[in-house]
């Protein structure tokens, strides 16, 4: 038994009764494990069954209680395709109080990480607002610390879309200061945003593969199984575009929009509070006092034009400014 639990079990297996204090020490070691795996659970269960006669009744109760309540968690050993993007991070589970969803599913849960997949993060937040059930139905908790995410493949390619099931564990990549590197929940105990990105990255071949450009509509199709639409903002007559945003969001379909590149002469982002070369969730469209507005969200979860309340990334932009600052727009079906 080369692991720490094994060493502890071997140490207490003297020709005497195992005390409650020793049992509690075993449990402490077990809780300190990075991940309480089914293999470790079996190891401890076997010990209790095999050496029942040597256990003090209180020690036995302590161990049996732990075995009964501890939730074994599978360790999927994150594939190289996920690990190779950043080697300066450690992958650790969120912890025992992690939860797939905390207070439901909202756009505000989504915080983009240190990777250039704003199209994906914005798309995830758009889906959260448009139809949280799409996300809820896409992620299955396997009950062992792993989660299976269902995507659709081949949407809009003529045939019937095929389901793709990708299983990931909830290990999160963190920098030395504990900060999550990839997409995460605003509440660090909330798992769903990170799991969605992790599964998408695993499916597509790694974080490097999804962090090098892409489109939100691909995500929309992959989650909903329905065709999406995309185009340049200027493809539309302004009134038609406003109505399209309004009707699409009112139908609970996701919308995301991308800005021009930073060096693009068509837009100057200085002083606007909007960033070039970035994707935003489009959460809705409204008319207030005769002025048209679009509600947007920065997938960073902060950083927005001034005068929009708390800095949570969500803001209203006059539609006339939207037309000037945004280059392309994607509509989920």
């Amino acid at each position: 038994m080369p692991n720490r639990i094994g060493q502890r079990l071997s140490a207490v297996l003297q020709d005497r009764t195992v005390t409650r204090a020793e049992a509690e020490a075993i449990v402490q070691d077990a809780k300190a494990e990075k991940k309480w795996t089914p293999a470790l659970q079996d190891q401890l269960s076997t010990f209790v069954m095999k050496h029942r006669a040597k256990l003090d009744p209180q020690a036995k109760a302590v161990l049996e209680d732990f075995i009964a309540t501890a939730r074994p968690r599978a360790d999927l050993k994150d594939p190289l395709t996920l690990k190779e993007h950043r080697t300066d991070v450690t992958w650790t589970p969120v912890g025992p109080d992690a939860s797939l969803f905390v207070d439901g599913i909202t756009a505000d849960d989504v915080m983009q990480g240190y990777i250039g997949d704003c199209y994906l993060a914005a798309g995830v937040a758009s889906l959260a607002v448009a139809d949280p059930s799409l996300i809820r139905n896409a992620i299955k908790d396997n009950g062992d610390g792993t989660y299976t995410v269902r995507f659709f493949e081949g949407v809009g390619e003529g045939g019937r879309p095929k389901q793709v099931l990708i299983t990931v564990d909830d290990d999160v990549a963190r920098k030395a200061n504990g900060e999550a590197v990839y997409l995460s929940g605003r509440d660090s105990k909330e798992l769903w945003p990170g799991l969605l990105e992790k599964a998408y990255a695993k499916w597509k071949g790694g974080y490097e593969r999804v962090g090098n450009g892409g489109s939100a509509s691909d995500l929309f199709m992959a989650i909903s199984g329905r065709p999406a639409d995309w185009g340049s903002v200027k493809d539309y007559k302004p009134d038609a575009l406003f109505k399209r945003i309004q009707s699409t969001t009112e139908k609970h379909r996701p919308v995301a929009a991308g800005t021009f590149a930073d060096n693009d002469p068509r837009a100057n982002y200085n002083g606007t509070g909007v960033h070039g070369d970035h994707f935003y969730s489009v959460l809705g469209a409204s008319v207030e006092n005769g002025t048209k507005y679009v509600t947007l969200r920065n997938p960073w979860g902060f950083d927005e034009p001034a005068g929009n309340g708390p800095d949570d990334g969500t803001f209203k932009l006059p539609f006339t400014d939207f037309l000037k600052l945004y280059d392309n727009i994607e509509f989920g079906g």
């Binding site: 892409g214 340049s232 493809d235 280059d327 392309n328």
Partner: protein, 307 residues
């Protein structure tokens, strides 16, 4: 008064032929019905960086012939031409200086159920993240012959990037002086990238890949989820010799001067190297010249022997 292209396309009946008079047009056009768009003389469509120059999405067949497509730019896929759905025949067109900085397919993106059949076209000086010349993605299909992909630059797949479930077949093409940039460049000429569930397929036959093609590697096939790369009777750079098979490995032997720097010299191993029936005596190169002289087999690549 120049033709109002947007109106002409809107007014055209399905299956119509839209002739475009010679001239330069600022254009960001959407083709959403089967039709033919044919240049009458020298026609330049300039996207003026306002979006893709052409966007094709129809359940039918579209033919585009003789156009020079420049200045397209999109944050999505397909700076010059975004083929989202339908079958496109692209004949004798030139794509130059188009951009797709946010995604890919600087000149041309073929996605979803779309199929592009490209013949005697040029893709030159385009840029994009993935596939600066052409991006084929999400099940799209590309059949390209007798075409030139040169001096395009991307992060991944300088000339061509083929991704999940997509297929590309290049016959008698020349790929030269394309390059990849950035922190993790892949595939100076061609990059393949599959997913856990779908692999792309790329076949190159009777092509010349120029010795001046630059990048992390000439061909990049994503190791974790590789595609199917088939190379049949091409002239490839010497550092691709590990591919083996019936390919030839040497400098391409371009003349490198004048207005057509990718003409073959007499010494090039591409001269008279065609096999089988793919390039018989009637085959023509990008300039419409016979690919073979007399009974000699045709040359590889899109240009026949210089002179």
């Amino acid at each position: 008064m120049p033709l109002d292209l947007e109106k002409a396309l809107a007014d055209a009946a399905p299956g119509a032929l839209v002739n475009v008079p010679a001239g330069a047009y600022a254009a960001n056009l959407v083709i959403d019905k089967p039709l033919s768009l044919v240049a009458m003389g020298t026609v330049v469509l300039d996207g003026t960086k306002q979006g893709p120059v052409l966007r094709v999405r129809t359940d039918g067949a579209v033919k585009v012939a003789g156009l020079t497509v420049v200045g397209g730019r999109t944050g999505l896929a397909g700076g010059g031409l975004a083929l989202d759905a339908g079958e496109l025949e692209l004949l004798r067109c030139t794509f130059r200086f188009n951009q797709a900085p946010g995604f890919g397919g600087g000149a041309l993106a073929v996605r979803g159920s779309a199929v592009a059949r490209v013949s005697q076209c040029r893709f030159e000086g385009n840029t994009g993240r993935q596939g600066a010349g052409v991006l084929v993605d999400e099940g799209g299909k590309l059949v390209m012959r007798d075409s030139l992909l040169a001096q395009n630059a991307a992060f991944e797949g300088g000339a061509l990037c083929v991704k999940e479930g997509a297929e590309a077949e290049l016959l008698g093409c020349t790929l030269a002086d394309n390059r990849v940039l950035g922190d993790a460049p892949r595939g100076g000429a061609v990059a393949l990238g599959g997913t856990m569930t779908r692999a792309p397929k790329v076949t190159l036959s009777h092509c010349v890949v120029g010795e001046r093609t630059r990048g992390a590697s000439t061909f990049s096939n994503f190791e974790a989820h590789p595609g199917v790369l088939t190379l049949v009777n091409n002239l490839l750079p010497e550092w691709c010799a590990a591919f083996g098979g019936d390919n030839r490995y040497a400098e391409a032997g371009f003349v490198g001067q004048g207005t057509e720097p990718y003409f073959l010299t007499k010494e090039s191993l591409a001269v008279g190297a065609a096999q089988g029936d793919a390039y018989g005596p009637s085959a023509r190169d990008l300039l419409g010249r016979p690919r073979s002289l007399g009974t000699r087999p045709a040359d590889l690549g899109c240009f026949a022997l210089a002179g």
